[in-house]
Symmetry: C2
Subunit: 208 residues, 2 copies
Amino acid sequence: MAASQRRVPEERRQQIIDVAKKLFSERGYSKTSLEAILSQTGGSRRDIYDFFKDKQGLFDAVMHDLISTIVTGSQVPKETEFTDDVQSELERMGETFLTNMLSPIVVTTMRQFIAVATERQDLGKAAYQAGPAVLYERFKTYLDERVRRGDLELQDTGTAARMFIEMLKGDYQTRALMTGDSGMTPELRKTHVQEIVRIFLYGALPRS
Amino acid sequence: MAASQRRVPEERRQQIIDVAKKLFSERGYSKTSLEAILSQTGGSRRDIYDFFKDKQGLFDAVMHDLISTIVTGSQVPKETEFTDDVQSELERMGETFLTNMLSPIVVTTMRQFIAVATERQDLGKAAYQAGPAVLYERFKTYLDERVRRGDLELQDTGTAARMFIEMLKGDYQTRALMTGDSGMTPELRKTHVQEIVRIFLYGALPRS
DNA sequence: CCTATATGGTACTGAATAGTACCAAGTCAA
DNA sequence: TTGACTTGGTACTATTCAGTACCATATAGG
C-alpha cells in the first residue's frame, strides 16, 4: 500500500537544505534563485515545493537547520577536567570560545540571523537561545562549580560569565561581523586570552 | 546661461536619501521598489537616475549617509568635566554609551551594515571606522588623560577602553541585533553600569 | 507672449524568476 | 510484461520591477 520510496526523502531534503544554506549565505535570499539551487542538487523544481511548500518555507527550513547545527556542534566544552590550575583551564576554554566565535561558519550564521532579525524575530530569538544563551549558561555552570570548590570567589556567577565572554570577544566579533575580518591571529589570540584571564582572575581570585 | 534651478537639487537629493534610508531599513534593499520610494518623495523616476545613476548607487549613497550620521551625532561625549569623582564620571559616560548603543537607530544601522558585509566589505569597514573605532579611541583618550593625572593606573589604556566598553555592552547588543529586543530597562541599565564601573575601577584604581 | 529648460508624471520594455503543469523515463510489485 | 507510481527535467504563465522614453506642465528670461 505504502509506496516504496525510490530514494530516501530525508537525504534529498537534507541535500536541498545544504545547498540552499550555502547559496543563501553566499548571495543572500533574494539573489538566490531556485534554479541555482536545483542546478546543484539536480532533480525537479517540484521537490522543493513538495518538501518546503515554497521558497519562504525552504528558507525557514534552512534557518532551523542552522539553529540545530549551533546546538549540536555546540561551541562550548561540556566537560572540563577541573585541574588545580584554574588559570590554564580558563585560558584553554577562552581560546576555544574565541576560536569558535570568530570562525567563518559562526560569523556567517550570525550575520544571517541578524540580517533577517527585523522581519523574523522568532528566528533570531531561537538562534540566540540556541547559541549565546547556552554559551553563557554553560560557562556559568563551570564557574558555579569552581566557586563551590572554593577556587573562585564570585558574588554573581551569571554576570561574571557574561563579562568574561564579552571581554574575550572584545571588538573582534563586531569587526568580523561588519568588516569580514576580525583581525585576529593565533599569536594575538593567545596573548589576548592570557590578558583577559589575568584580569578576570585578578578580580575573582580569593585574596590570600 | 546657467539654467536657474527651480528647486535646490541638494534638498531633493537628501529627501530621496532619507526616504530610501527609511524603506531600506524597514523592508530591505530587494523588497524596496523605486516605486515605493517615489510614491513618498513625489517627482519622477529620472530624479533617482540623474542623482544616483541606478538603484545600487542610491543604496551606496544611503549607506554613506548613514556613516556620516554616525560620525556627526557621534555617540561619544567629546568633553568631560574631569571632576574629582571618577566613578560618577564613568557611570555617566557608561550610561550615555549604553543608551546610544542600544538605541533603535544604532541597532538598525548596524544591522544594515552587517547584512551587506559579505558583499560590501568596503561599507562595513568604513562604518566600523566611523563608529566603534571612534568610540574606542575617544574613550582611550579620556583614560590617557586620567592616567596622566594619576587618577587611574593602567598599563594599556587601549585595551582597558575596549574592555570597559565591551563589558558595558554585555550581551545586550547581541540580543538587540538578533532578537530585536535588548531586554534593557532604565533601572537595569543603571545597576548594570554601576556594576561595570565598580569592576573596572576595582582593577584600575591605584592601591592606596 | 514666446521659447527654452527643467521637472512631475506615466507608459513601455525587457529581464528575472516564483510557482504550476506536464511529459518522459525509470522503478517496483504482481 | 504490465500497470501504478515516482521522479528527473522542461515548458509555460504571471508577476514584479529596474531602467528608459516620452509627454505634459510649469517657470524664467526676453
